[in-house]
Symmetry: C2
Subunit: 336 residues, 2 copies
C-alpha cells in the first residue's frame, strides 16, 4: 500500500467528513529534497505529467526546429487538452506539417474533456475522433520524432520502438535514475507510462524550471518547452482547467503538468524547485486542486493577485445549495 | 482523523496506482456487529442515507395514509433523485395534494443530477428550480409532516422545529442511541444531518430490512417504506444510478440509500442485515460503487444474475481508450 498522509480535510459542522490522502516531494535543481509530506519516494506512474519530458527529445534533437513547430504547437504536444476547437485545429496543423492526418494517431478515442466541446460535437451530429483525445498533441509529437529519425510510424506505441527507448532514457537522465530502474505500464492512450519515485519526478520538474546546470542542447530545449507551456497555457489544458489557470496566474514563474489518477508535477522558476505529488485515491478534482494551490502558497510561489485568480481552487468554506456555509475544507500538510 | 482501511485498489501493470480507503459495519437486526472493515464505530454524517428514516414519522403517524400518498410518492420522498421529468412531476403532485407549490420548498436549487435532464431543461430555455433539487421529495415529505401536525411550514428546516425533533428522536430509537448523543450539522439541502457511528446506522438499516422485532405502527411503516423503495427504485435515484440498479437487481431482497461524500446504507432482507459504509475521500463513483457491490457479494446477497446486472459497478479489469486492459481494480477487504 501507499505511505501517504492526510493532505486535505473537510469538516461539516464540528465534525470531520472527508479526508484526502497523498504524498508530496519538493526537490531543488541539484536534487536535494527540500520538503515533503508522506513518503517522498512513493513510486507510481507519472501518467500525463511526463508529457513535457516525452516532448524533450523532439526539441533537443533539433527536430522541432527542422519541422518549424511554433511554441503554440509545442504547448499542445505537452498537453492533456480539452478537445476544444483550437486544440483540435492545432493538432490538425501539426499532422499536416508532417504529411499525416488523424489516421496516424493511435491514441484511441474519447469525447472532448470540456463538456461544451463534447456537446457542440454532438449537436453537429459528429462523433469524436482521435484528434479529440486529450493526448493527441503528444501523439503528434511522437510521430514527428519518428519521421525526423526516419523510423516507422506504425509501431510508435511499442515500448521497444527507438523513440520510446529515447524518451525513457531522457526521463531517466532528468530524474537521476537508471533507465532500467524505471518500471513501465501502458497509459490510457496506449504509450508507455513511467513509475518513478516522487522525488525523482520532482527533480525532473526542478530541471524543467531551472535547467541552468545542464549542458546544451538540453538546457535550451527545457527552457523552450517551459516557456512554450507558460506562454500558451490554454493549449496545455484549456478552459476551466487547473493547469491552464495556474500557469496564467503564475505569469511565467510556474510551469505545471497534471496527470491522471491524481498525479501532479510543478516547476517553480524563481525558486528553482520541482514538486511532484500524488493523491492516493486518484482525485483530480477539489482535493488535488486544493493541494496544488496550497503547496504553491506554502512554497511562496503565489502572490495575492495569483491567489485571488486561483480562488476557486483554494480550500475554504463549504457552502450548500442555498449558499450557506456548512463546513470547512482545510489543508493539513506543511512543506517544511 | 478517520480510522479507515484500504477497501479498493487499482493497479496499472504490476504496480499500485490508486487506493480507496473507508470503513464498513455490518449489523444484524438485534444490533450485533456481524462483520466490519476499518472502524465500525467511525462517526460521520449519514447525509441522504438518512432519508428512509426522515420519512418514517410521516408513515408511522398515519399521515401518509391520511394524505393518500402512493408507494411511488413515498419512494421519491426517500430519494436523492436525478431531477428527471418523472421525479419532478411526482413532487409536483405531492405538493398539489398538500395545497402547496414549489415556493414552499426550501431545499435550494441545483441543476438536475442526470446530465440529459439538465440539458433538456437548458435546451428548453428554462432554469432549474427547487423541484429539480435531488432532495425535493424529502422536503415535500417534511412539509406533509408539518401540515398533518398543523405546524408552521416556514420554519421546517430549523433543528428545533417539532418535525425535526421527531425525526431525530425516531432515528435515535432505530439506531439504538440517545437523541442527545446525535451530533447534527446542516445538510446540502439545509435540513439537519446526523452524525452517528456506522454500526448504529447499520442497525437502523437492519431494522429497515427486518422490522419484525419492532412494535406497531413502526414495524408496518418500515415495511411499507422498504417495499415502496424497492417497488419504485427509479424514483429513489434514477437512470444510471447505483441505488436504482442495486434495488432492481435485488428484486425485493435489497433496500439501499446512498448519501453524499461516500456514505452508503444497505438493508438485506433475507439475511436481516444492515450495512453502513463510508468512503474516506467522499468518493461516490467507481470506488464507492465497487465497495457496495463487493460487500453485497461477500454477504451472499447477489446471485449470478444480479451480479451480471451490476457488472458495470463491479471491480475488474481497467481498460484504456483503445479497450486494452492496462490494470486491475480489486477489492481489498473481507467482511468476516
Amino acid at each position: 500500500m501507499f505511505n501517504t498522509v492526510p493532505l486535505i480535510q473537510i469538516t461539516r459542522g464540528a465534525r470531520l467528513e472527508v479526508v484526502y490522502r497523498g504524498a508530496i516531494a519538493v526537490v531543488d535543481a541539484r536534487g536535494q529534497l527540500v520538503a515533503s509530506a508522506g513518503n517522498p519516494n512513493l513510486t507510481t506512474f507519472l501518467r500525463s505529467s511526463a508529457k513535457p519530458f516525452q516532448l524533450l527529445p523532439l526539441v533537443e534533437s533539433g527536430a522541432a526546429d527542422r519541422f518549424g513547430f511554433s511554441d503554440r504547437e509545442l504547448a499542445v504536444m505537452a498537453a492533456s487538452h480539452n478537445g476544444q476547437e483550437f486544440h483540435v485545429q492545432t493538432v490538425v496543423d501539426i499532422l499536416r506539417r508532417l504529411g499525416l492526418d488523424v489516421n496516424a494517431l493511435q491514441c484511441g478515442i474519447h469525447p472532448p474533456a470540456y463538456p461544451p466541446a463534447a456537446r457542440a460535437l454532438e449537436d453537429a451530429g459528429q462523433s469524436p475522433n482521435p484528434l479529440h483525445n486529450n493526448c493527441s498533441g503528444k501523439h503528434s509529437g511522437m510521430l514527428a520524432q519518428c519521421l525526423d529519425r526516419k523510423l516507422p510510424i506504425e509501431s510508435y506505441l511499442d515500448p521497444q520502438h527507438p523513440i520510446q527507448v529515447t524518451i525513457k532514457q531522457t526521463l531517466a537522465e532528468l530524474a537521476g535514475l537508471s533507465p532500467d530502474s524505471i518500471e513501465i505500464a501502458m497509459d490510457g492512450c496506449s504509450v508507455p507510462t513511467f513509475a518513478i519515485p516522487l522525488a525523482a519526478s520532482a527533480l525532473a520538474f526542478a530541471r524543467l524550471a531551472d535547467p541552468s546546470r545542464l549542458s546544451e542542447p538540453r538546457r535550451s530545449a527545457l527552457e523552450r518547452i517551459a516557456s512554450a507551456m507558460m506562454a500558451y497555457p490554454e493549449m496545455v489544458a484549456g478552459t476551466k482547467r487547473l493547469d491552464t489557470d495556474v500557469m496564467r496566474a503564475g505569469k511565467g514563474r510556474i510551469v505545471v503538468k497534471g496527470g491522471a489518477e491524481g498525479y501532479y508535477g510543478l516547476g517553480l522558476l524563481p525558486q528553482g524547485l520541482g514538486v511532484a505529488l500524488k493523491m492516493e485515491d486518484g482525485d483530480a478534482g477539489r482535493g488535488r486542486n486544493a493541494v496544488v494551490v496550497e503547496a504553491l502558497r506554502q512554497l511562496g510561489a503565489l502572490d495575492d493577485q495569483a491567489l485571488a485568480a486561483l480562488s476557486r481552487y483554494v480550500a475554504g468554506p463549504v457552502k450548500n445549495h442555498r449558499g450557506l456555509v456548512v463546513g470547512q475544507m482545510q489543508p493539513c500538510f506543511r512543506l517544511t
